[in-house]
Subunit: 152 residues, 2 copies
């Protein structure tokens, strides 16, 4: 993971569909060399995948909510997790320090759907209570920050 790898990551975070030839020009190597480097970054898990970023509103998911979950003292955390995983509306799931064990980011089409989701969450075994905050607007999201000095 040297400076060239960092440049490649930076470039691919900006536009994942850049050709190897274009990447090669940008970093001053040959295309096969870039191909090999990127392959190693993928194989080592540094690059997890390449995703098209779709505007949520455009596909009818205009409502974003952040939901804190307090767990039942008797519940099994893994079961709760499984239940969350089965709900496709839950885009992100963090296990947190604090009273609320989980923080979920959910995306639905309407407030009515959000209501149904919250009801389902509250009914989930192991969930003691939920606290929902809805996002009025998303100022930005998943902004890539510059790759800092490598850990190695």
């Amino acid at each position: 993971m040297d400076a060239i790898d960092q440049s490649l990551l930076e470039l691919l975070r900006g536009n994942a569909r850049l050709s190897y030839a274009e990447l090669a020009r940008q970093v001053g190597l040959s295309a096969p060399a870039v191909h090999e480097r990127v392959g190693k970054l993928e194989a080592s898990g540094v690059v997890r995948g390449y995703r098209a970023e779709v505007s949520p509103e455009a596909i009818g998911l205009g409502v974003t909510a952040l939901i804190g979950i307090v767990e039942d003292s008797g519940g099994d955390t893994d079961d709760v997790l499984e239940a969350f995983r089965a709900m496709p509306e839950i885009e992100s799931c963090y296990f947190m320090a604090g009273v609320e064990s989980f923080l979920l980011k959910a995306r639905v089409g309407t407030i009515a759907e959000l209501e149904q989701l919250i009801v389902r969450l509250n009914r989930t075994p192991g969930v003691a209570s939920t606290r929902t905050a809805v996002a009025l607007s998303t100022k930005w999201e998943n902004r890539p920050q510059p790759v800092p000095a490598p850990p190695a």
Copy 2:
């Protein structure tokens, strides 16, 4: 935005580096047809871009925190936003309903850096108070949910 467009979005959300030829095979059209459809999806803003997803730990950003911000009654929201925007650690910024006007997702390398970030946030004009919760682990993040029925 018909069923084929939805398939294309689904495919590209799974792997943004698929070739047009491959996409064409998957949806049963010719490559130029797919090229044109994807071009229109990009032009209309449905597809915002293509991003490589990089493992945060691999680039030395092992600490994720969610930070709620209570605004000063006298502060200017736009100024606060500008200040947040200038902090690269803040990956996402939502404007929320509720006492806390903003919810930030921040990513830093160490707890010490998180401390410095919180100090900077509290010093920011317009910020009355902050509430930080750190993520112990990320169960999943930005999981693409199936494209539902189109709004049209």
